[in-house]
């Protein structure tokens, strides 16, 4: 009898032990604002709103633009680490949506596209937040176009990250030679998976249910 009580108590204590592994989500979204892709920003806004609806208390979310030099905090359009209280979370989400909406209305196209710099910034941000699940969304045609002098041939450590390319549109040249498009996708997949990250492409924006 005493033994069974002792076992039951041990079981109870074991079930009460605090699991320190973080279970929150961290999402960093990169928005390509270069050239004609800037016209796609309204779609990006929808994705951001959808992502906001999927995030919960203690999750982190940041939206940053991809421009000439994207490895900078100045490119972050909106960011939030959601509070523990549901009412505060709702307020933060509304404010976030408003900030993104303001940005979409007033965004200027950038002459160059520094995706790698944005990726580095995303990794830095999410590592700093220490979230349990780390996701980077890249809303771009994945055509990197660096200004002269910018060095980006570096490996980004993506162990534990999931990188999702969204709305990877085909360029005019891709239509002439589809190998360019497929080559871009393969190149990015290779870069991500080489450093331990997971790669996914979602082009059908009606099927965002599996996004997060």
């Amino acid at each position: 009898m005493k033994k069974s009580i002792l076992i039951a108590l041990c079981g109870l204590l074991a079930s009460c032990s605090t699991d320190t592994t973080p279970r929150n989500k961290g999402v960093y979204m990169l928005l390509d604002t270069s050239g004609t892709y800037a016209e796609e920003l309204t779609k990006a806004e929808q994705i951001i709103r959808f992502t906001l609806s999927r995030l919960d208390a203690t999750d982190s979310f940041a939206v940053a633009r991809i421009d000439t030099g994207s490895f900078s905090e100045k490119d972050i359009v909106a960011k939030a680490s959601f509070d523990d209280r549901p009412s505060a979370v709702n307020r933060q989400k509304r404010l976030f949506a408003q900030q993104v909406s303001d940005f979409v209305e007033s965004a200027d196209p950038s002459p160059y596209t520094d995706i790698t710099g944005g990726l580095l910034q995303a990794v830095e941000f999410l590592n700093e937040k220490g979230t349990g699940i780390k996701t980077i969304l890249i809303f771009s045609d994945l055509k990197e176009d660096l200004e002269a002098g910018y060095i980006r041939d570096i490996d980004v450590e993506l162990e534990g990250f999931e990188v999702i390319a969204l709305n990877v549109t085909k360029l005019r040249s891709d239509n002439i030679d589809p190998r360019e498009y497929l080559g871009r996708l393969e190149e990015w997949q290779g870069r991500v998976e080489k450093t331990g990250g997971e790669w996914r492409v979602i082009n059908d924006l009606d099927g965002l249910e599996n996004l997060l």
Partner: protein
């Protein structure tokens, strides 16, 4: 196998040789083998029999204990009922006896008044004179016989008599009216007496019916005290009924507690955070559960303090002053918790609206954020439920007490059935092993049918020879 079949160049011959050898060996050790099988079977049979007897003894002990528990519980319950009945009788008697002197005085006064009025009503007023008709006849003689001198005298007498008659009739009417008035005055007194006597009769009837009830309870109590089988049977069946009924009510209460939980778990996240975990459970859920459990505990204490339940003898034994204080304290805590719950229920609605508005905004549906005209009904209903449910849960104490008390009997009955079945199984197993021993011995003899047949033949022949020898002598 190849070795066994290779002892001679012919496998069949080898096999035959082996069979003969084995059969011979088995035949030689047959007696010992039979004894071993029998001993093992007997041993197992005895072991199971002893185990079965031990279980039967335990079953009997448990039955006695169950009976004692049942009788003790029944005695306690019956004592409570009888005590309550005596309290009621005491209350009725105290109330009626306290008013008895006033009642008696009231009845005496009413009767006195009636007697007095009756006496006064008995005084008969004077009748009008009976000789008026004779005087009238004399007065009429004047006109018939022409006696004018007598006529005037008689006429005066006649007038005087008529006047006296009128006065007498007036006095008669006044006296009659007075009598009627007195009789009319007697009516309320009669009514009062009737009502008083009816009330007394009702009280007496109530006392009589209560005394009949007490007699019945006392009879049952005596049966319980004497430990009669009928009383045990009645208590056992009523205990089972109580168990199932209280379990059903407790299930309903659990449903109520679940609804209560869902009302306050969501807004609790605003107070203790929505994501922090305690073990594998959300802290907000645990906090909501703790509030509900505290409410149930307060309800239990309140019921105990009110002496409706008797789960904690310490509370029931407290001095009345302390007990009353405890009633007020537990009620106040319960009231505060109910108010908190009502507030949380309101907050739940607010949060829900906030979340719906945010979701609509994120979906891009600006118009969907408008609140419905009748949403206040839902809010009010939720607040009402949040306030009422804690008080409703207070009454869980009553079925809980019944459940706990009847559980002892039910567990005892289940244990009894289990032990009875175990005893039967053990007894059956013991017999199975006994007959298994016999069966094994028979099976052992099957391969030895040849030597056994020979043995039998030889024995038969030896018998025959012995018989022939005796006959020859």
């Amino acid at each position: 196998m190849s070795f066994m079949l290779g002892i001679t160049p012919w496998p069949v011959l080898s096999a035959t040789l082996w069979i003969i050898l084995i059969v011979a060996a088995l035949y030689l050790i047959r007696g010992t083998a039979h004894k071993t099988i029998q001993a093992a079977a007997n041993g197992l049979h005895r072991s199971f029999k002893i185990a079965s007897k031990a279980v039967t003894r335990s079953e009997k002990n448990l039955a006695v204990r169950n009976r004692d528990v049942l009788l003790a519980a029944g005695r306690e319950a019956k004592e409570r009922i009888i005590e309550r009945e005596f309290d009621r009788i005491n209350e009725t008697v105290r109330k009626d006896l306290a008013n008895y002197s006033a009642l008696h005085r009231s009845l005496s006064e009413s009767i006195g008044r009636i007697e007095k009025d009756h006496q006064e009503a008995v005084d008969v007023p004077p009748d009008p004179p009976g000789w008026v008709k004779a005087v009238e006849a004399v007065a009429e003689m004047d006109a018939k016989e022409g006696r004018a001198h007598i006529g005037s005298i008689l006429s005066d007498i006649h007038k005087s008599l008529i006047k006296a008659h009128k006065e007498a009739m007036g006095a008669y009417h006044v006296a009659s009216a007075k009598r009627h008035k007195l009789l009319r005055h007697m009516r309320p007194d009669w009514r009062k007496i009737q009502q008083t006597l009816a009330a007394v009769g009702k009280n007496v009837d109530s006392l009589l019916s209560r005394s009949v009830t007490i007699d019945r309870h006392m009879q049952e109590y005596e049966d319980i005290v004497h430990g009669q089988d009928r009383a045990v049977s009645v208590l056992s069946s009523s205990s089972l009924v109580n168990f199932f009924v209280s379990a059903f009510v407790l299930c309903i209460a659990i449903g109520g507690a679940t609804i209560n939980f869902s009302l306050i778990a969501r807004p609790m996240a605003e107070m203790v955070g929505g994501t922090s975990l305690l073990g594998n459970f959300r802290t907000a859920d645990i906090a909501a559960l703790v509030i509900i459990l505290v409410e149930i505990s307060m309800g239990l204490f309140l019921m105990e303090s009110l002496r409706i339940t008797r789960l904690f003898p310490v509370i029931g034994a407290l001095p009345d002053k302390t007990r009353v204080r405890m009633i007020w304290i537990t009620f106040s805590i319960l009231f505060l918790l109910a108010s908190v719950e009502a507030g949380l229920a309101y907050m739940r609605e607010v949060l829900l609206h906030d979340e719906l508005a945010t979701s609509a905004l994120l979906r891009g549906e600006m118009g969907a954020t408008a609140t419905g005209e009748y949403m206040w009904i839902t809010t009010a209903a939720q607040m009402g439920m949040g306030f009422i449910l804690p008080f409703a849960l207070t009454f869980v104490a009553i079925p809980l007490e019944t459940f706990v008390h009847s559980l002892r009997t039910v567990v005892g009955l289940i244990g009894l059935s289990f032990l009875r079945a175990l005893s039967l199984v053990l007894r059956l197993l013991g017999n199975v092993f006994l007959y298994l021993g016999v069966l094994l011995k028979q099976l052992y003899d099957i391969p030895l049918f040849v030597p056994l047949w020979l043995e039998e033949r030889m024995a038969s022949r030896a018998n025959d020879d012995a018989l022939m020898g005796r006959v020859g002598q």
